[in-house]
Structures are given as C-alpha cells and as structure tokens.
Symmetry: C2
Subunit: 260 residues, 2 copies
C-alpha cells in the first residue's frame, strides 16, 4: 500500500539533513535510484521508501514489504540535498555494529584518525569494500559516516562496510595486547614497496592536514611511507588521504594475493 | 608600493569566480597563505597579491617585485569562495603550455577523458606531482583545471604540472604513431599486478560514471584492471577515478624504481 507523505512527516524527514536529528532518530536518507536499490539489496534496515507518484508504477513487489510513501515534486525538493532532486529516496536505520576486537584478528582493518572531509571518508569506505576490508574504525572526532556527502561518495559501500566510532587510543591499546600488527603512514618511514608487510593487521591513517597524532603514533610499530619520485621542495608535500590509503591497501593485497 | 584595491578592480577580480571570465581574462584566483606561497615559488606568473591591510606588515620584500593591493575584509569576502575568507589571495595568469607530443616519448603521462568532479581532477594533479609525472592531458569536455575546487584539492601541484586540453582521439592517434604504449583501466582487462607494464607510456582514465568511451578504447592496446578481492554482487562495482589512477601509478613506479 502506498500512502501520501503528509507535510508533517515530510518536515520530520527533512530534519534528517542535520546531524543532530540523524543521531536523535538513528535514521538517515539515501537519495537516488541506484543507492536506494543497493540499500534494499543489503542487510541494512530500510524503514520507508519515499518517491514521486510516477515512480511507483510497476513497483508492486516493493509495496508489499516496506512502508511506501508518495511525495510531490515540492516535497522531494524539501528532502533532497542534491541540485536535482531524485525521484526516489529511502529512509534507512543507522546500523549499529558492536565492535568485537577479536573479529579483527585475522583481517586487514582501516583505522582513521580525525578524517574531516566527507568525500575522503566515502572514498575510503568504497575502496575498503573493493579490497575486501570489512571494518573501518574512526576516531570519535571524525566526520559522521551518515553525512549525505559520505553516502554519495561511498557509492553504496556504506551499506556493506561496518563503520565504528571509538576512542582510538584505547582501541590501539587493545589491538597491541592481541599482538595484531599496527601499521601507519608517515612522511618518514619504511619504504612501502620494499619493507616486509604482515599479511593482516590494522592500518592507521591520519587527519588530512595534521597526519597521525603523536598520541597514536606511539602505538604504531610499523611506520611506512609511500616514496615520492624525485622528492624536492618543488614537489607535492603529501598525498590525499584516500589516495594514500588506496595505495597502501593495493600494495598490501597485491602481496597477499598476487605474488608467489 | 601597496595600493588600495578599488571597488571597480574588486568587481573585476570577483568575476574570476566564473569560468567565462577566467577564460576571457586568462587569469584565476588562488586563495590562502599556503597556496599563494606555492604560486610565488613556482614558475607561474603572479600578476598581483591582494591582502588585508594587516597582512602586509613585514612583507616589504614582496612589495618590490609584484603588484600589491590592500583590501578590506568586506572586499576579501567578495573575492573569496571559501566559507572563511583568507587574509591573502593571488591573481595568477593561466599558464599556457604548447603540447609537444615528442616530449612525452620517454615519460609516464596521465590522460583523462571527461573527468567531471573538480575534486577528482585536483587530486589526480596532486598525485601526478608526487609520482614524478609532468603532464596531465584532459579531453576538452573535462572540468576546467582553474576551477577553485580543483586548485584547492591540487594543494599547489597545479602550479607545477603541465595541464593540456585537447581532442583525445587525435592525441591518441599521434601517440600511436610514435609507438608510445597506451594503457587504460577497464572493469575487465589484464590484472594490473601480474601483467607486464612498459616502463613509460600514457595511462588513459575514463569518466566517473561511464569509464573510457569506445571511441578512445580502440586506441588502447593494453587494457588493465585493478582486481577486487572477492568480487561479487555485494561488493563495490568500481573505484573512485582518482583512487584508481593512484593505484596504477603507484604500481607502475614501484616496478620502475623499487624492483630489481
């Protein structure tokens, strides 16, 4: 059954554009056909689908399983954060994954300290998905993962990757106790391409402008660097954090899967 | 000598926020201490520095070499595209680099077809700089390199990398004639990690959503892919284009410089 989206409901959903209300209601919005489809195919809980009247044609199988709401173009505009409002969006429950440190024992895990740019976080979630990484652990100060820009740039991977927010100092202490290798990238460290890498472990990546804080660096036994070609004052000082994460994960998985 | 920025001059400079006027005047704006400093240290032509009255203290050596303008906070707000206007910005001439195909014979070059996101282009320019790549060749339809978001995300590398806009079909035809190897990334191709790579050549990367067009694919002899771990319907379908470019350049330069 499809019901009309009331103006009150619309107002309540539009409040989810703001982090405070996402946290309060434990809900977020997912915009556009492709992402809504990915949300429906994932394990995530979709609370409702909101779409234009027209969109509901031929969607009978959907209307039996889920709360379906028909919205006016004006209402879609109110709910959307895109320049061109999409015909459909989903109201999704923020997934909660209890962090079990033991689960990380035999895996590659990405740890992010204070990432601020939502595009960077979304891009890292997407590449984690590509490289078979299940968990991304963020410091409590990092940008919120259900920020619409993170969702857009994660391209659906946000529904598959388990994202946790925690105190990274305590987290790395626990990881050390379990003797899981801890790597991190620094401007000065062992050459990524020539240093031995353990097959599993956690990779710590730092804030966009400050890098990894001394606070966390103390726990990082394996400091690695991505060497520049012809480094000089006249070259880039660093790489974008999503790019650096990608390069390390690529080299790591290359050695695990494509060398003999 | 420092002169006051007149309201007329301010209006003219503010027009550089719009692509049409950047193209017309062949000028662009660079915001913030760090980028202005990088512009001054590069080979690029800085036409003027505009800064708040206070900023000009202790900048005597600068005022002898360059046109210096003092602006009010209100004027800086008019000129800036940032949420918090910076204390200083530079008016810079758009560099023109004639494209000499012969110059590319012994080099690694990045070729971008129809990249639309300015953050992606800026990030690719930054990583080109890191990996010792001198030229980035864009299709005429690509986002403009002097868009403020490209400049910000390139982090100063925009002043060092030579960026060209051209008809890529004609360009790849010329490259083929010179027998420079042409690689490109596709969802199906040779495994990047195990396929032999020539030490030099051009790397073609496609549009964010459509990839490389069939039009150009015909020229690409070496089709490569970055293999996913456990690919399945439940994994990311692709990688962000800047991330994919970084992974290929990293693997390429690893083989050129860090293997025996």
């Amino acid at each position: 059954m499809i019901s009309r989206l009331s103006n009150n409901e619309c107002k309540q959903l539009a409040s989810l554009k703001i982090k405070k209300y996402r946290v309060q209601q434990q809900l977020f919005l997912v915009e556009g056909e492709k992402l809504v489809d990915e949300a429906l195919r994932s394990d995530i809980t979709v609370k409702a689908i909101v779409a234009l009247e027209d969109w509901w044609q031929d969607k009978k199988q959907l209307t039996e399983k889920i709360k379906c709401l028909a919205a006016s173009p004006q209402q879609m505009k109110q709910l959307s954060q895109l320049v061109t409002p999409p015909p459909v969006l989903a109201v999704v429950q923020i997934p909660v994954h209890p962090l079990q440190i033991n689960d990380l024992q035999h895996k590659i895990t990405i740890v992010l300290e204070n990432i601020q740019d939502p595009g960077n976080l979304g891009t890292i979630i997407r590449l984690a998905d590509w490289f078979g990484i299940d968990h991304v652990i963020c410091s409590n100060e990092s940008v919120e993962a259900f920020n619409p820009k993170v969702i857009q740039s994660s391209m659906g991977s946000i529904f598959r990757i388990k994202i946790h927010y925690t105190d990274l100092k305590l987290f790395l202490k626990e990881i050390s106790k379990l003797q899981i290798p801890i790597m991190g990238t620094f401007l000065e460290g062992e050459n990524l391409y020539t240093t031995p890498l353990p097959p599993i472990g956690v990779l710590v990546m730092g804030n966009e402008s400050k890098g990894i804080s001394p606070n966390l660096a103390a726990y990082i036994k394996r400091k690695i660097t991505i060497p520049a070609i012809n480094p000089s004052e006249q070259r880039a000082e660093s790489l974008n954090v999503a790019v650096a994460t990608a390069i390390v994960c690529s080299e790591w998985q290359r050695r695990n899967h494509w060398t003999t």
